[in-house]
């Protein structure tokens, strides 16, 4: 078993449910080939740095898993056949240093998932500190927020 990471970009033209189903199918490909998914990290809909198949945006999803190295060719073949996938990037974590980094990334992704789950449960509780600590939150929120002018407009209005 070797540790891997897969970033997949799903077509933005699909509906939200179709995207979720597509992501499920992608994870299914990994598990059916003997992979054990450690965690997943949803980066969400993002603007692509360059258009792929005339799409300007894409749904980014990262999967951390471990699988026997021989199964990777089959997994990548299945990904290549999948027409809902714009792009996938497979990264191998082989050396001791890389494996340590992989553990760190998995932990980070788990923490992020727990945070977003908590935010979903109590939306009101998380929004109150966000309003008081504007400068800190803005820094953290900047990569997620698509349009910067909107984020800058809020402190000026207060």
């Amino acid at each position: 078993m070797r540790k891997y990471e897969n970033l997949v970009i799903v077509k933005p033209t699909l509906t939200a449910e179709e995207i979720q189903a597509s992501v499920k199918a992608i994870e299914e490909v990994i598990t059916s080939n003997g992979g054990e998914i450690a965690t997943t990290d949803t980066m969400g809909m993002r603007k692509l740095a360059y258009p792929i198949e005339k799409n300007e945006r894409g749904y980014f999803h990262v999967i951390y898993y471990s699988v026997a190295p021989a199964a990777i060719t089959e997994i990548e073949r299945r990904f290549r056949l999948n027409e809902e996938l714009l792009r996938f990037v497979t990264i191998k974590y082989d050396t001791n240093r890389e494996i340590k980094a992989w553990d760190g990334l998995v932990e980070k992704a788990n923490k992020k998932a727990a945070m977003s789950a908590k935010a979903a449960e109590t939306p009101a509780a998380t929004e109150v500190p966000a309003a008081t600590e504007t400068p800190v939150v803005e820094e953290a929120a900047a990569p997620v927020v698509e349009e910067v002018p909107v984020a800058e407009a809020t402190p000026a209005a207060e």
Binding site: L7, L48, A49, R87, R97, A101
Partner: protein, 87 residues
């Protein structure tokens, strides 16, 4: 054969920060090693050490493949949105 150095001695930012692994998904960290046209900056200009330059070039190429960083930009894009998508 002058005794003084012609250029100021530069230090590797990544050695100072003790970086031993870079994640290609953290695009903001790559900005220091990219030119405004998203070329990989040479080591002689950034002062990065060989070890970290090798890491950066691999990570940037991964990020390009993942459509997080462009391969090239047109002249128009350079003027209108420098590092727009890397924030």
């Amino acid at each position: 054969m002058s005794e003084k150095r012609k250029y100021k001695k530069r230090f590797c930012k990544y050695c100072e920060a003790k970086v031993d692994f870079m994640d290609y998904k953290e695009v903001g960290a790559l900005r220091f090693s990219l030119s405004e046209r998203y070329k990989i900056m040479p080591r002689r200009l950034t002062g990065n050490c060989k070890k970290h330059q090798d890491m950066i070039s691999i990570v940037i190429k991964r990020a390009r493949a993942a459509a997080l960083v462009p391969y090239t930009v047109t002249r128009k894009a350079v003027v209108t949105q420098p590092f727009e998508n890397l924030r």
